[in-house]
Every structure is written in structure tokens, then in C-alpha cells.
């Protein structure tokens, strides 16, 4: 995959990608707490499936008893039994 100019620049300067490139950053604690920073919108939310739109791809989280613990305009905190995280 060919890297864009901006991407090469961030790698050269060692800058955090989520800030410059607006890429999503996922932080997962075990399988029960997931923070997704830099998302752009919630596409679907049920207690089994969550789909979130990010800058380039859609993140799909599956599991059971999923709850959106907090929602702000920059991040979402998901709690529940997470079984699968997918990029679509």
C-alpha cells in the first residue's frame, strides 16, 4: 500500500497518528472495556452489535450486554463482553 505524503511526514516526525491523520485509536482492557477515540459517528447500537464510523473504516464490535458507558464527540467507551472487533 502506498503511503500518503501526510502519513510519511507523521512517521518521519514520530507524531501521534490519531492527532494528525485523524485515525481511530482503540484501547482495549481485557475483553470488557473498549475506548475508541476519533470516531465520527455511531452507525448502529444494540446490546450485541455496535458499528462506529471512523475516518477511513467502520469498526464493528460484537459481543453481549454491550453498553455505551460514555459518549462524547471525540470518544466512546464501550463496556460489556466483547467477543469480536472487526474492520469493515
Amino acid at each position: 500500500m502506498k503511503k500518503s505524503k501526510k502519513e510519511r511526514l507523521t512517521e518521519l516526525l514520530d507524531m501521534p497518528k490519531e492527532v494528525i491523520l485523524d485515525l481511530p485509536k482503540l484501547t482495549l482492557y481485557s475483553n470488557n472495556q473498549l475506548t475508541i477515540e476519533n470516531y465520527s459517528g455511531i452507525l448502529e447500537y444494540t446490546s450485541e452489535h455496535i458499528r462506529l464510523k471512523t475516518a477511513d473504516k467502520t469498526v464493528a464490535v460484537s459481543g453481549s450486554n454491550l453498553e455505551l458507558r460514555t459518549i462524547t464527540d471525540i470518544d466512546v467507551l464501550i463496556e460489556g463482553d466483547i467477543s469480536k472487533i472487526e474492520y469493515i
Partner: protein, 397 residues
């Protein structure tokens, strides 16, 4: 997380039910407009529940319209709602108000005076003087003029060299530095001589002023002139009197005879005990026992006081006093010779504890122990010069 929850409770929040075909859209718009939502749960096919602040909820009506959802409140939580709900319960409100007021008023007074650093002075004397200077328990802490009290204390107690008064919460911390006790001094400007305090053999003699009359190794008797303050003038006529000063270290012998005890005393708890518990409010005691008397002849008393306080310094004028009395029996136990000797030895040692002991010789009989301690001590003692005294009992050096 706990702090966030507490903050939410103080501010008040609502649990809302969002119903619509596409409630995710509602969540997205809320997020974009900076309305904070938390604990979002799916409750049914078409509904979600979520928590939002009261302020956030007020902004939701247009969003709901835009997202084609209905929003309704399921539950109101937090202190503002609680107060609103109980606004008609007057006694409750008065009680809560009174509690806050009482707490506020109580913490404005001094309830504890904590004296530290006193060695010679007893705490009672210090407290007594403090009361006279204008600091006692039950005073408004704001009205205390620490500088005035400090000055008063310095004047009234001459043992003080420094006093610090710190008022922290309901506690007044009194820190004391005592003046170094003056040694028994002979007036500096009056002539005097140095005499031997006890019998001994001179180890070293260091005369800072005056005329040395004995040398190291000399045997001296009690009261013998060691350093003379009467100097022969250089011209050979008349006598000049000076204030003799110096240190005379000598080996001395002290004989101490102590009885050898035939038994040792021991306290043994019989297992019977009594407890007296009290609650102290201001200076009144509320007793939680009926019989005031302790019928035991010998007992150990173990007391424990628990003071009610907020933090460390906010002590309130309430305390719990626990007194436990354990009956003890004093048992006289026959001791063997070695044990008895040990007891006698420590008793003898106790009597010479302030003196440097070089060596000791023991001599024991059936019921007494005689120990001769060889000590090293300063035997210099200043005394006024007898007029007309000359150095005829020593040779001039």
C-alpha cells in the same frame, strides 16, 4: 469514576428513554453538540435508556425532533431533585440545617489544648497559666490573640525560653521550649576557692583561674582546698583574691549496700474485671454504669479515650471514655539466689545512675549485697574564701 458520580449526584441528572426508529442518530447529534450522555443501554428494539445532565436534557427537544425520536424522563436523580421532593418536610429541613449550623459553630471553638515540649513544667501549670493569659477550651478560636498570650506566658512563666501557639481547627497546639536550668553558680564576680566535694584520688585537674594546690595522683579528703582563689601577689606583699574556676576529675569510691530480697512480687490478673464507660459532652460526663465503687483491693486500670473529630485537628467536644479495671493479685514468689542478686544489683545500679562508673567490686553476705563502685566524677565545689586564708596547706606551683 467515583468523583464523576459524586459530581453528577450533586448536580442532579435524569435517566431518559429515547424511542425512535434510529436512535443512534440522536446519540450522534448529542455528541456533536457537546451534550454528555452516559450509561447508554439498549432496552428494546426501538428504545434506549441513557443518563444526561439537567442542562443537557433541556437542549434535547430540537435534537429529538431532528432525529425523529421521542425523549421522556424515566427518573430524576441527585440532590437538587431530592431537595425539591422533600421541600415540604419542614422538620427534616430544619434538622439538616441545624446539623450543618451546629457543625459549623462547633468547629469555631477551641476544644483541645495540646501542650508539647514541657519537661520541668507540668502540663497543668502551663494550662493554668494559659487560662490566666486568656486561652482555655471553649473559646472562640477567632478571638484568640496569640501574640498577647505569648507575651503574657513569657512573663508569667520564667522557665520558658520560647512558646509557640498554633491554632489548627479546634486544637490549640502549644509548643514549649524550656530555659536551660541554671547550674548552681557561684556569683561570677565574687572571689572563691574550689574544694573537694568528696574523698578521692585526683585523676586530672584543670584550673582555669586560681592557684592549683593538688596534682594528679594526690589523695584528697572531703572539703580539702583544691584550687585557691587567694593569690600571693608577685611583689610578695598582700594577697589578691580571684574567682577560682576549674574542673577536678577524681576517682571516688561509693559503697552501696542493698538487701537481697528473698522473694519477688508479681502481679497476676485474676480474670475478674469491671468496665466503666462514659460519654463526655463539653465538660459533662454521662456515666454508663451504676456502681461507682471498685471493690478490688489491687487492680490494673486501663483507660482509653476516643475523641470525636473531623480529620486530625477538628476535634469536637464529644469523647468516649472506656475504663477497664482488672483485678490483680500480688503474688510473692520465692526467688533463687541468682535472681535475687540480680534484683539487688539493679537496685544498687539505680542509685549511681548519674555517675560514670569505672569498675565495681561486690561483696555479698546472706541477706545484703555491698557493692563498691569506683567512679570518675568532677569533685570541684566553689565556696567563698575565708578571709585571711593563705595557701599554707599546699605548695605553690
Amino acid at each position: 469514576m467515583f468523583l464523576v458520580k459524586l459530581f453528577n449526584l450533586i448536580q442532579g441528572y435524569v435517566t431518559i428513554i429515547i424511542e425512535g426508529v434510529f436512535p443512534e442518530r440522536f446519540l450522534n447529534i448529542c455528541a456533536r453538540r457537546g451534550i454528555y450522555l452516559w450509561d447508554v443501554k439498549r432496552t428494546g428494539k426501538l428504545s434506549l435508556s441513557a443518563n444526561a445532565s439537567v442542562r443537557g436534557f433541556r437542549l434535547m427537544r430540537p435534537i429529538a425532533k431532528k432525529a425523529r425520536c421521542t425523549v421522556r424522563i424515566k427518573k430524576k436523580r441527585g440532590i437538587p431533585f431530592y431537595i425539591y421532593k422533600h421541600r415540604r418536610r419542614k422538620a427534616f429541613a430544619v434538622g439538616a440545617g441545624l446539623f450543618v449550623l451546629l457543625l459549623f459553630v462547633m468547629t469555631r471553638f477551641i476544644w483541645v489544648i495540646d501542650v508539647t515540649g514541657n519537661d520541668i513544667l507540668s502540663t497543668e501549670t502551663v494550662l493554668e497559666n494559659l487560662e490566666r493569659a486568656g486561652l482555655k477550651t471553649g473559646m472562640l478560636s477567632g478571638k484568640i490573640d496569640t501574640e498577647y498570650i505569648r507575651d503574657k506566658m513569657m512573663i508569667s512563666l520564667e522557665e520558658l525560653s520560647w512558646i509557640g501557639i498554633n491554632i489548627k481547627g479546634t486544637t490549640a497546639h502549644i509548643e514549649i521550649k524550656e530555659r536551660e536550668q541554671k547550674p548552681d553558680l557561684f556569683p561570677k564576680d565574687e572571689p572563691c576557692s574550689i574544694y573537694a566535694l568528696t574523698d578521692g584520688v585526683i585523676q586530672s585537674i584543670d584550673a582555669q583561674n586560681g592557684q592549683r594546690l593538688v596534682a594528679a595522683g594526690d589523695v584528697v579528703k572531703k572539703g580539702q582546698l583544691l584550687i585557691s582563689g587567694a593569690l600571693d601577689s608577685k611583689t610578695g606583699e598582700g594577697v589578691r583574691y580571684v574567682h577560682a574556676d576549674g574542673e577536678v576529675m577524681a576517682r571516688t569510691w561509693r559503697e552501696i549496700t542493698v538487701p537481697i530480697p528473698g522473694y519477688a512480687e508479681e502481679k497476676v490478673r485474676t480474670g475478674r474485671s469491671k468496665s466503666k464507660h462514659m460519654v463526655k459532652i463539653f465538660s459533662f460526663y454521662i456515666k454508663f454504669f451504676t456502681n461507682d465503687r471498685i471493690s478490688y483491693t489491687n487492680y490494673d486500670r486501663i483507660s482509653y479515650v476516643k475523641k470525636l473529630s473531623i480529620g486530625k485537628d477538628m476535634v469536637l467536644p464529644f469523647s468516649f471514655h472506656y475504663d477497664n479495671y482488672y483485678e490483680v493479685e500480688i503474688i510473692r514468689r520465692e526467688t533463687d539466689r541468682n535472681e535475687a542478686l540480680d534484683i539487688a544489683r539493679s537496685e544498687a545500679k539505680n542509685r549511681v545512675k548519674d555517675i560514670l562508673v569505672v569498675s565495681s567490686v561486690e561483696e555479698e553476705s546472706q541477706d545484703t549485697l555491698k557493692i563498691t563502685y569506683e567512679c570518675l566524677e568532677n569533685i570541684a565545689q566553689k565556696k567563698a574564701i575565708l578571709k585571711g586564708e593563705t595557701n599554707d596547706n599546699g605548695e605553690n606551683t
